[in-house]
């Protein structure tokens, strides 16, 4: 069957089971959009900026576990996608990005809308392809999906010149293919697993440090089984949030810069860290040289390059988290030795949990933490997905939203991309139409992508956009307050920020402003029931800080704030006063 390259592309995507593409058309992708025009299998979601096509595909992938697909034109379309690729790359998200390219005979001549997108994206993709022979297109698509979704997942880009899209081929989707230089290791080394099992059984103060790798491997059941079998407390990273229920008695919630005091103390005091699907990011370790001084470290990861990269490891195990954890559970069960007595450890952790719960003030103004706390409470028992912007809104969401299911908390971890929340929510809602989707966002973050409210409106996506509006670039302001002598340089957004209710209205979306703390719960409740797009503009306490906090460069047990009844931080006198005069609401542990 003779068909065009563009048709072959669409057929190949169908063969890969693609049901939705996020995209934006343009000159050199006209043949591809023409082939999409009468396609009944693949739904195309028209975004309003190419960056959002990428983030939406990313959010879709995180919510569903499938490979997200986006399609944009050459030149500016492709360069607009770069941030989204870098975002997916840093968080190991499976994505296939298709970009149009100028015709092969003008490649390299600075033709109209030409950009060397394969050159530009080498550092932020797992691999990329420039298709120069139409006959190679099907096998390239096949390889791209294989690469994106397997091993340590990541974004793969396929750049297709317009003449390749128009050229004709005899289409046959390749059944067998090889990628000679690509052989991820799934099964862990048996001897190492045995050694790890011994250490786990002997440990008196063990901690499991679990991350995004568990989401990718689908290893949350194994993680829970192991934690419960050996009765080991679990802390999760931002990327791992949801792989272990935040409400579980063994949960220490998130660790790191804005983690709980008890998670950080546990890490620093532990004698064994079982690190699974994590990469010892600087936001987790703080000062590396003082990180977990008493602990032996077992590190399980599918990417050998992550092992020993930042922190020396005692037992490295390269492999897929699910496969390795399954073997590790079996190895532990096989050991006849009694587990070491950990009662002292549990007591110590219980003391920390009691002394340093996550908390916030209840004083008549809307505290952003309260909004998140209510979202967490009101969505309980429903299939919920929370996406976030980046900054304070993200950290409050991570601290106060109790994620009890994997793929329920979607946030830009490695790259920290402001503006991720809305397009990610779009992708997540399209991938899981029955889920209740919240975008917990900041007034700064949402303004980076607010044009895509149009995509929400056009597709009637029942996303609840909860803006924690403090009129500041809050996290930058917090750092300026703490480390730059309160010199608030270029962080005040109040002047110029749109009236969000009117903005929502302009897009035909219901907008509600909440200024009274008494209204928070009711408005959220109604919005949840409405099953239509709602934007809620919460006027929150302007200078609220995210606590606890590890100062940059400090050891993770040297934390500021987060002590109920004591000074929030020795550095902030006003907060101290507040603390004396207002009752404190404590978040559930």
């Amino acid at each position: 069957m003779r068909i065009t390259g563009a048709e072959a592309l669409i057929k190949s995507l169908e063969m890969e089971g693609v049901d939705v593409i996020f995209g934006y058309p343009g000159g050199v992708v006209l043949p591809i959009y023409d082939a999409l025009f009468d396609n009944a299998t693949i739904r195309h979601i028209l975004v309003r900026h190419e960056q959002c096509a990428g983030h939406a595909a990313d959010g879709y992938a995180r919510a569903t576990g499938k490979v997200g697909v986006c399609l944009v034109t050459s030149g500016p379309g492709a360069t607009n996608l770069v941030t989204a690729l870098a975002n997916a790359w840093m968080d190991s998200i499976p994505m296939v990005a298709i970009t149009g390219q100028v015709a092969t005979h003008v490649l390299g001549t600075d033709a109209f809308q030409e950009a060397d997108i394969t050159g530009i994206t080498i550092p932020v993709t797992k691999h990329n392809y420039l298709v120069k022979d139409v006959n190679q297109l099907p096998v390239i698509v096949r390889q791209a999906f294989q690469l994106a979704g397997s091993g340590r997942p990541g974004p793969v880009l396929i750049d297709i010149p317009v003449d390749i899209s128009k050229a004709e081929i005899d289409f046959k989707y390749p059944k067998n293919f090889t990628i000679p230089g690509y052989k991820p290791t799934y099964k862990g080394h048996a001897k190492q697993i045995k050694e790890a099992a011994k250490l786990i059984v002997q440990a008196e103060k063990p901690v499991i440090y679990a991350g995004g790798g568990i989401v990718k491997a689908g290893a949350w059941d194994e993680l829970k089984e192991l934690a419960e079998l050996a009765q080991i407390p679990v802390t999760t990273t931002l990327m791992g949030k949801g792989v272990f229920p935040d409400d579980h008695p063994l949960s220490l919630r998130m660790l790191g810069m804005h983690g709980t005091r008890y998670a950080n103390y546990a890490i620093m005091d532990s004698d064994l860290i079982l690190a699974v699907g994590v990469r010892f990011d600087d936001r987790v370790t703080g000062k590396v040289s003082t990180f977990a001084p008493h602990a032996k470290i077992i590190h399980i990861d599918i990417d050998p390059a992550e092992i020993g990269k930042n922190v020396p490891v005692d037992i490295p195990i390269v492999g897929d988290s699910k496969v390795v954890l399954t073997d590790l559970i079996a190895a532990i069960k096989k050991l006849s030795t009694l587990h070491a007595d950990k009662m002292g450890w549990y007591e110590l952790i219980a003391t920390w949990k009691k002394k340093y719960p996550l908390h916030y003030h209840q004083d008549g103004v809307i505290r952003p933490e309260y909004v998140v706390d209510k979202i967490s409470e009101l969505s309980k028992g429903r299939e919920t997905i929370v996406t976030t912007g980046v900054g304070q809104n993200q950290m409050w969401a991570a601290q106060f939203y109790s994620a009890n299911k994997p793929r329920s908390f979607i946030s830009s971890g490695g790259l920290g991309t402001m503006g991720f929340g809305l397009p990610a929510a779009i992708g997540a809602q399209i991938g899981r139409p029955d889920a209740l989707v919240f975008d917990i966002d900041g007034d700064g973050s949402i303004q980076m992508v607010s044009q895509d409210l149009a995509t929400v409106a056009a597709n009637k996506l029942p996303i609840i956009i909860a803006i924690l509006n403090n009129g500041y670039l809050g996290m930058v302001r917090q750092w300026q307050e703490l480390f730059y002598n309160r010199r608030y340089s270029q962080v005040d957004l109040n002047v110029g920020t749109p009236n969000f209710v009117k903005l929502a209205d302009a897009y035909g979306i219901k907008g509600i402003q909440v200024t009274q703390v008494e209204d928070v719960e009711a408005v959220l409740g109604q919005s949840i029931e409405s099953r239509e797009p709602v934007l809620i503009d919460f006027a929150v306490a302007r200078e609220e800080n995210v606590f606890p906090m590890v100062a940059p460069g400090a050891s993770i047990d040297e934390m500021l704030g987060g002590i109920p009844g004591a000074s929030l931080s020795q550095m902030i006198d006003e907060e101290e006063e507040e603390n004396e005069s207002y009752p404190i609401g404590s978040c559930r542990e």
């Binding site: 394969t118 990628i179 052989k183 390059a305």
Partner: protein
């Protein structure tokens, strides 16, 4: 410490950019890099000389393996491998000194590959020490231009290449 990495890669466009870009963005230093096709036209061999301690070398190797086009990496032991570099040196030689320079070149088993009224171009292959010695001897005459290939190397004889296979 200097290491000689012998890296087999797929002979495809852009592979050199992927490899060299990886070194620069991760802050690894390349002393020299030579690349060309092997006995199999689909596969090229890169010989990369890097200055790195063991930890850094491990990272370099692991990160290189993550490139889909990289097939195999060997860290060649200088004792169990042969290494060569080819250098072309264009020297200022007035006619009265020509014999002297030719003689020097002969001692090094170097070849004269171009002659003009006032210059000689000498081709020399060998180890870094040997090349350096010739360069030092020629410098007083005035070296006009110099070009070197970068080191290429192969494991000796039957020695299997030491590798932490992919």
């Amino acid at each position: 410490m200097n290491h000689i990495l012998s890296v087999l890669v797929e002979n495809k466009p852009g592979v050199l950019a992927r490899v060299s870009g990886l070194f620069s963005r991760r802050g690894f230093n390349i002393d020299s890099l030579a690349v060309g096709p092997t006995e199999d036209p689909e596969i090229s061999r890169m010989t990369i000389v890097v200055d790195a301690d063991d930890l850094k070398l491990e990272q370099i190797t692991k990160q290189l393996y993550k490139l889909v086009n990289v097939l195999k990496i060997s860290d060649l032991d200088p004792k169990d491998s042969v290494q060569r570099e080819l250098v072309l040196i264009k020297v200022n030689v007035p006619s009265n000194a020509r014999a002297e320079v030719v003689e020097t070149a002969n001692i090094f088993r170097a070849n004269i590959i171009d002659v003009s009224k006032s210059t000689l171009t000498i081709e020399i292959t060998g180890t870094a020490d040997k090349i350096q010695a010739l360069e030092d001897l020629l410098r007083p005459y005035g070296i006009k231009e110099l070009v070197r290939t970068g080191k290429i190397a192969l494991a000796r004889g039957k020695l299997a290449e030491v590798t932490n296979g992919k």
